[in-house]
C-alpha cells in the first residue's frame, strides 16, 4: 500500500514561508475554487491556508535556538477526522493514503476540525466548506507536467530543500530513508493518530575531544618530533639542489 507524505527537515527550514505562499498560489488557482481571504490588505487580514510556518524558541538566553516549524495536514494513517464526518465528505484514499475533503458533500459542520488535534483543517468562510492540505493531488498525478514537477507546490518552492515528498510505506524511498536514518518523528504520538508526515529533528555535528588528544601521545613513526639539526658536514638541501 502506498502512503504519500511529506518529511520536513527542521534542521534545514529557515522559516521563509515560501511553502506557504506557493501552496496558497497553487491551491487558490485550482479547479476547486479560490481559498478565500478577507481584508487581505487591511488592518486585520484573515484567510484560508493549508500550510503555516510557525516559529518557536527553545531554551533561555543565551542558550536559545530558533525552530521554524511548518505545519499542514499530516495525512494520518489513523485519521480521527475521517470517521466523525457525518456526510463522508472527509475520506482517506485507499490508493495513496491522502486525506481529502469532497467540497461538494461537505455541509460545513466543522466537526472534523474539532477531531483533528493538530489544527490542520480550516473552514473557508465564504464557501462554507472545510479545507485542508491535499498534497497537491491535482498536481502530483498530472501527466501534462514534466515528471520532476509532479510534486506538491511547497516541495518545489522550498529554497533550502527542507521538504521531501514520497511514499513512506516504501522502505527504500528517500522519505523512508530520511525518517530511518535521520531520526524522523511524528507529532503528538500520544493520540495514536499515526501521522504520515514526519519531521526530522535539529541536528548538530559534534565530536568529543579530550585534551590529551590535542597532542599525539603515541607517535610510533616519530612523525611529529623535532627533526635533529643536520651536522654541518652533511650536505644541506641547498647543496643538493644547487649543484
Amino acid at each position: 500500500m502506498t502512503q504519500l507524505a511529506l518529511v520536513i527537515d527542521l534542521n534545514v527550514c529557515v522559516g521563509c514561508h515560501a511553502c506557504v505562499t506557493s501552496c496558497k498560489e497553487w491551491n487558490t488557482s485550482g479547479s476547486a475554487g479560490a481559498m478565500s481571504d478577507d481584508r487581505p490588505y487591511g488592518a486585520d487580514p484573515t484567510g484560508t491556508f493549508f500550510n503555516r510556518v510557525q516559529t518557536f524558541e527553545v531554551g533561555s538566553f543565551p542558550n536559545t535556538e530558533t525552530v521554524h516549524f511548518p505545519k499542514s495536514c499530516l495525512h494520518c494513517e489513523e485519521p480521527p477526522c475521517v470517521p466523525v464526518c457525518p456526510t463522508g465528505a472527509s475520506y482517506k484514499r485507499k490508493e495513496d493514503g491522502i486525506v481529502l475533503v469532497d467540497y461538494d458533500k461537505c455541509i460545513g459542520c466543522k466537526y472534523c476540525s474539532w477531531a483533528c488535534p493538530y489544527g490542520a483543517r480550516e473552514i473557508d468562510e465564504h464557501q462554507k466548506v472545510m479545507k485542508k492540505c491535499t498534497l497537491c493531488v491535482d498536481r502530483i498525478y498530472d501527466l501534462s507536467l514534466p515528471e520532476a514537477e509532479r510534486k506538491p507546490a511547497c516541495v518545489r518552492a522550498c529554497p533550502t530543500g527542507a521538504r521531501l515528498f514520497g511514499d513512506v510505506h516504501d522502505s527504500e524511498s528517500a522519505v523512508s530513508v530520511a525518517i530511518r536514518e535521520s531520526g524522523g518523528y511524528a507529532l503528538m504520538p500520544e493520540w495514536g493518530t499515526k501521522p504520515s508526515n514526519h519531521y526530522l529533528p535539529r541536528r548538530k555535528t559534534q565530536i568529543r575531544i579530550h585534551t590529551d588528544e590535542l597532542m599525539r601521545a603515541d607517535n610510533p613513526l616519530k612523525k611529529e618530533r623535532q627533526l635533529p639539526q643536520p651536522d654541518k658536514s652533511e650536505p644541506s638541501l641547498d647543496d643538493v639542489t644547487s649543484w
Binding site: 487580514p45 510557525q54 489544527g119 500520544e190
Partner: protein, 325 residues
C-alpha cells in the same frame, strides 16, 4: 473551545423536549399500573407531546444555524456506522416522528388493544411510548457521544458527559412537566415535582463530579509533543500570521478566568439550587407560578451550563496558536 450558540440551543432545547416526553410517558406507565389516577382523556398527553415536539423543532432549527450548507444537511445521515453526529441526525427526526404519533394517538384516543400480556393489554399509546423512550435514550447518548468520543478533548472524553446530558435534559423535562401539570393536571403535580427534584439532585452529583474531574485534568499534549522538541522551555515566537484564522476563532473562547468562575457558580445556582427551592416552595404552597419559575430558571441555567461546557474544553491545537508574532 468557542461556544457556538446554535449548539447550545440545540442541546438544551432537545434535552428539555426529551425530558418532557420521558415525564409524560412515566406518568402514563404509573397510571397504567394504577399507581396514579388515570387521566380522563388524552388531552394532557397530547398537549404535552405538542410542547415536547415544539422544543425538539426549536432545537432542530437552531442546529441548522451551525451548518455552512444547511441545504445539504440530508447528506449527514450517510455515515451512521462511524459518526455519532450522523447517528444523532437520524435519531432526532425519528424520535420527533414518534413523539408526534404519540400525541396523535392520545388525542384521537387510539385505545384498541394491540398487544396482550397476560391480563395487561397495551394500546397504541403504550407501544409508541416504549418506542419513544428507547429513541429518547438513544438520542441522549448520540448527542453526548458527539462530544465524549473526541479523546483529545479531555474535558469531554468521559462517561460523565453522557450521564450529564441524560440527567440534565431529563431534569429540565421533568421540571417542565411539573409546571405544565400544575395547569393541565393538578393531581400529577406532586408526582412530577418529586421526580424533578430527584433527577435534579442526581444531575448535581454527576455534574459536580465532572467539575471535580476536569479541575484535576493534566493535559496529555504539551508544546514538547506538539513540535517534538524535548526541552523544558519552549515558547512560540510566531504562529505564522498576524491576523486571525479559523484556528484562532473556533478553538479559543477569549474569556477571562474570572468570567468562567462566575458562570460556573451562576449555572450551579440556576440549574440546581434555585429550581430545587422553587419546586419545594411550589409543591407546598401550590402556587403554579413558582413551578413555572423553576423551569425558567433551570433552562436559563442550562444555557449557562452548556456555555461553560464548551468554554472549559481545551483543544490541543491551541498549543500551536499562542503568539501572534
Amino acid at each position: 473551545m468557542h461556544p457556538a450558540f446554535s449548539v447550545i440551543f440545540l442541546t438544551t432545547l432537545i434535552g428539555a423536549g426529551q425530558g418532557l416526553f420521558l415525564a409524560l410517558y412515566t406518568g402514563q406507565v404509573y397510571a397504567f399500573f394504577h399507581l396514579l389516577p388515570a387521566q380522563a382523556d388524552g388531552r394532557f398527553y397530547a398537549i404535552g407531546s405538542l410542547i415536547a415536539l415544539l422544543l425538539l423543532i426549536g432545537g432542530l432549527v437552531a442546529s441548522f444555524f451551525h451548518l455552512g450548507h444547511p441545504e445539504r444537511a440530508w447528506r449527514s445521515a450517510a455515515k451512521w456506522r462511524t459518526s455519532w453526529l450522523s447517528r444523532e441526525v437520524i435519531v432526532l427526526p425519528t424520535f420527533m416522528g414518534v413523539v408526534f404519533l404519540y400525541g396523535v394517538a392520545h388525542s384521537l384516543g387510539w385505545h384498541t388493544p394491540l398487544v396482550t400480556l397476560g391480563t395487561l393489554t397495551l394500546d397504541a399509546t403504550m407501544v409508541l411510548g416504549v418506542l419513544g423512550t428507547a429513541l429518547c435514550f438513544a438520542l441522549f447518548i448520540c448527542t453526548a457521544m458527539i462530544y465524549a468520543c473526541l479523546k483529545f478533548l479531555q474535558e469531554w472524553h468521559s462517561p460523565l458527559t453522557v450521564a450529564n446530558y441524560l440527567l440534565l435534559g431529563s431534569a429540565s423535562g421533568f421540571t417542565l412537566a411539573t409546571a405544565y401539570s400544575a395547569y393541565a393536571a393538578p393531581d400529577l403535580v406532586g408526582f412530577y415535582g418529586k421526580w424533578a427534584m430527584v433527577i435534579t439532585l442526581l444531575a448535581l452529583v454527576t455534574r459536580a463530579a465532572s467539575l471535580v474531574r476536569n479541575a484535576r485534568l493534566k493535559p496529555k499534549s504539551t508544546l514538547q509533543t506538539a513540535i517534538g522538541v524535548r526541552h523544558g522551555q519552549i515558547v512560540q515566537k510566531s504562529q505564522g500570521f498576524m491576523g486571525g484564522s479559523f484556528n484562532t476563532r473556533e478553538f479559543f473562547h477569549g474569556q477571562g478566568a474570572g468570567l468562567l468562575r462566575s458562570v460556573k457558580w451562576v449555572f450551579l445556582v440556576l440549574v440546581f439550587a434555585l429550581p430545587l427551592l422553587l419546586l419545594v416552595g411550589g409543591l407546598f404552597s401550590s402556587l403554579s407560578g413558582l413551578l413555572s419559575a423553576a423551569f425558567l430558571a433551570q433552562y436559563l441555567g442550562l444555557l449557562a451550563e452548556r456555555w461553560f461546557f464548551f468554554v472549559q474544553a481545551n483543544h490541543p491545537q491551541n498549543l500551536y496558536y499562542q503568539t501572534i508574532s
